[in-house]
Symmetry: C2
Subunit: 218 residues, 2 copies
């Protein structure tokens, strides 16, 4: 009976890692759509989100059946409850990528991001994508050191967000209200993706160590 339990637990962790891959693709493709104004890529991100939602449901079902049938304790219990919360955060990261794709789609055939802000947005997207990859490693290997390192990437995201605000609120912002509003919201979406990545990493620390690192959570 314990073997079946551990197999199901491993399967659930594998499903979470696989959702990370889908979320990373979503972040990447949404950014491509955003920076190129490619409506087809934007549509792909939007329709691919259903698969992430379905994967979330599978993880939830597995978690509930493990809780109900196996009555786990200690670390196994923490793993299952944390998985329920992590999968909910991963789904949100997918939703946030859809929001980015929708900004891109709304501005087609134009590109929502003016050339002089492009480096900031590109870097935000890179940081977000790297954080999703790291989250995958943290989940798959229960890597506490990588989980703690994720917090540092989040600091860069905060700096980028501040930089984008400085740009769009400067006296000589030449691109008008619409572009400024797009950028403010896009910055918010990438920042939230990063926040969720940090939060998931902290949950893994909790699973592995039993310690809640929320005191360092932002």
């Amino acid at each position: 009976m314990r073997d079946v339990f551990n197999d199901q637990l491993d399967q659930m962790i594998g499903d979470l890692a696989s959702i990370c891959d889908d979320v990373r693709t979503a972040v990447h493709d949404a950014t491509v759509a955003l920076l190129t104004g490619d409506a087809a890529v934007a549509e792909r991100v939007i329709s691919a989100d259903e698969a992430i939602d379905a994967a979330r449901e599978r993880v939830e079902e597995t978690a509930f059946s493990l809780l109900l049938l196996q009555q786990p304790v200690a670390r196994d219990l923490r793993t299952i409850v944390s998985a329920l919360r992590m999968v909910s955060e991963l789904e949100r990261m997918g939703d946030l990528s859809v929001h980015v794709a929708k900004v891109a789609r709304l501005r087609v055939p134009h590109v929502a991001v003016p050339d002089d802000v492009r480096p900031t947005i590109e870097r935000m997207a890179e940081v977000a994508e790297t954080m999703v990859s790291e989250v995958r490693r943290v989940i798959a290997r229960r890597d506490v050191a990588a989980a703690i390192a994720l917090g540092r990437a989040d600091e860069e995201m905060d700096q980028l967000r501040r930089r984008s605000f400085t740009q769009l609120l400067s006296e000589d912002w030449p691109h008008g209200v619409e572009a400024a509003v797009d950028l403010a919201l896009l910055g918010r979406y990438y920042e939230r993706i990063a926040d969720h990545a940090v939060s998931i990493a902290h949950r893994v620390v909790f699973v592995v160590t039993g310690e809640d690192p929320r005191s360092v959570e932002v």
Copy 2:
């Protein structure tokens, strides 16, 4: 042993309802700060958030101890796991109120919301506050009908968000980039508060009926 369990479960539900009261106060006060430019009220919202975070930790501790010590099944299990997720959403609603308060604080001694947009923001805040009150009732009374009704209030929030975008992106928007960016983000914060309210209501439906209403979730 069952009585102690049920007492603790009732206590946990009571704690959730009490966090709803704190979140409602946060939404209300943040809006007052926003519409009056009152820095002291904004600070109060920001510092009161610690109490919401602490209350979240207490609910989490109770939930974990119930899961570990009582090995609940069926509806009790759903209640505890759902409580863990609801308390996390309530904490986010508190954080979003803090974001509103911080926009208010940033613009002191001015008011972030221009007069002609004020009715839209006032109504958004009213809808959000009412939804938090309804969430309290849904949680405290396990009221499935009220939970389903919450979805309709959320539709009004979506309409208000669209209206605010129409205003701030119109050709003759007179208030400049900064006010437009503030409003776009404020709209996002109130909308997310409403989204979380709907999500919590759906979790209560799940607890009471065992049915997941996510097919109707936005």
